[in-house]
Symmetry: C2
Subunit: 210 residues, 2 copies
C-alpha cells in the first residue's frame, strides 16, 4: 500500500524502530524523522544511552533486579525485612509494589515467567537462585506476586513445589474484586474466587483502617 521509502538508510532506521513493541511503521517513521531533525549530539546521546545500558547493565547478585552496583539499593537497605521475600516477574512489578508503600521486605526478580509458547522454561528464570536463597539465608516467608494469568499460575505452582520441602511459609497475593469496582461488572471467575477466598470481616476492617 505505502510507497517504498526513498532512502535505504531511512528504511533501515524505520525498520529497527518498528521492531519495538507497540511501534508500527507509521510511528517509527515519525520517531526517526524527529531524530533526524535533532542535532548530531542529541542523536549520539540517544544511541549511546541504549548501547551503554546494554553493555554495562548489572543485576543485583541477591534479588537479580537491574542495578548499578553488585547489591541493589533495596537489598542493601538494612531497614527492610530480609526474612520476607516477594517473588516478582520483572523490575516493573518491583516498582508497582514499591509504589503501594505496603511492603517492607526484599524482592526476588525472576526475569520472566514460565511460558512454553515463548520457549521460556524454569531454567531461563532465576528460580535456582531463589531456592539457594531460601536454603542459605534466613527466609521465613516467600510471597508469590506474579500476574493472575495461566503463565503466572504455572510459575507459581512450579516454584511452590520446589520450595515445599523447606520449612517456610509460602503465600500468594490476594485475588478478588478490585478496590472501587462494582460487583455487577466484575468477571465471574474473579468474583467466584473472592467468595472462596473470603476473610474474617474484622481483619479486613483493620486493613482498611491502616
Amino acid at each position: 500500500m505505502n510507497p517504498p521509502l526513498p532512502s535505504v538508510l531511512l528504511e533501515n532506521a524505520v525498520n529497527e524502530f518498528a521492531k519495538l513493541p507497540g511501534i508500527g511503521k507509521k510511528t517509527a517513521l515519525r520517531l526517526v524523522l524527529y531524530l533526524l531533525r535533532q542535532d548530531g549530539m542529541t542523536v549520539d546521546g540517544f544511541a549511546s544511552a541504549i548501547l551503554t545500558l546494554k553493555q554495562e547493565v548489572k543485576y543485583c547478585s541477591s534479588c537479580h533486579n537491574i542495578s548499578d552496583s553488585v547489591i541493589c539499593n533495596l537489598c542493601a537497605d538494612q531497614s527492610r525485612d530480609s526474612s520476607l521475600v516477594c517473588v516478582v516477574e520483572n523490575i516493573k512489578d518491583v516498582m508497582a509494589i514499591e509504589n503501594t508503600v505496603q511492603f517492607k521486605g526484599k524482592y526476588h526478580v525472576l526475569g520472566g515467567i514460565i511460558s512454553p509458547i515463548d520457549g521460556i522454561g524454569p531454567s531461563d528464570l532465576e528460580i535456582a537462585s531463589l531456592i539457594e536463597r531460601v536454603k542459605s539465608a534466613g527466609v521465613k516467608e516467600v510471597i508469590m506476586a506474579l500476574s493472575a494469568t495461566m503463565e503466572g499460575d504455572t510459575t507459581n505452582f512450579y516454584i511452590y513445589r520446589k520450595l515445599e520441602p523447606f520449612n517456610i511459609k509460602i503465600s500468594i497475593i490476594a485475588r478478588g474484586v478490585a478496590i472501587g469496582n462494582e460487583l455487577e461488572y466484575t468477571d465471574e471467575v474473579t468474583l467466584g474466587r473472592s467468595i472462596l477466598n473470603r476473610m474474617p470481616f474484622d481483619e479486613s476492617y483493620k486493613l482498611n483502617q491502616k
Copy 2:
C-alpha cells in the same frame, strides 16, 4: 509519584526514549526493557541504524527530499513532468501524495513550514532553492500542498509573494468537504470554503469518472 529507577544507566536510556514525541516515561521504560532482553547484536543494530542515518543522510539536490543519492528516484524519473512542481512540508507528505497515484509531476520539500512560535523562519526552509528552481528550470506550475493550518497558510502566502514576479501558474490544493463526510458533521469554516470554491458540476463529475 513513581519510585526512582534502581539504575542510573536504565534511567538515562528511559529519559532518552521519553524525549521522543508521543513517548511517555512508562512507554519508554517498556521499550528499554524490551531492548535489554534482546541480544547484543540486535541492540547494536538498532543504535547503528539511527547513527548511520544521521551521519550519512543525504538530501536530493533538486527536491531536497531524503535520498541515498544526489538526485532522488522521483526527480530522476524521466516519465514525470518537470514543469509541474508540488511544494510540500516534508517526506511524509510526499509519501501521502504518492499514495494517491494522482500526481505525476515533481516535488519540492520545504523541510518544515514557517512557524514563528517554533522559531522557524523562511530562511530555515528550502524557499530560496524553490525560487532558483523556478528561475532556472522550465517550471510552468507550482502547486502549494501544505497543511490547511495557520502556519501552512502563512507559508503559502509567503511563497506566493516570492513567486508572483515569475510568469508561472501558482495553484493550491482544493479545500472542502472530505470524500465520504456528511455535511451535517463538517465544520462551518470548511463548509463555507467549499461553497466559495465550488466548481462546475460537469468538471467534478468527470473527475469522479477517472
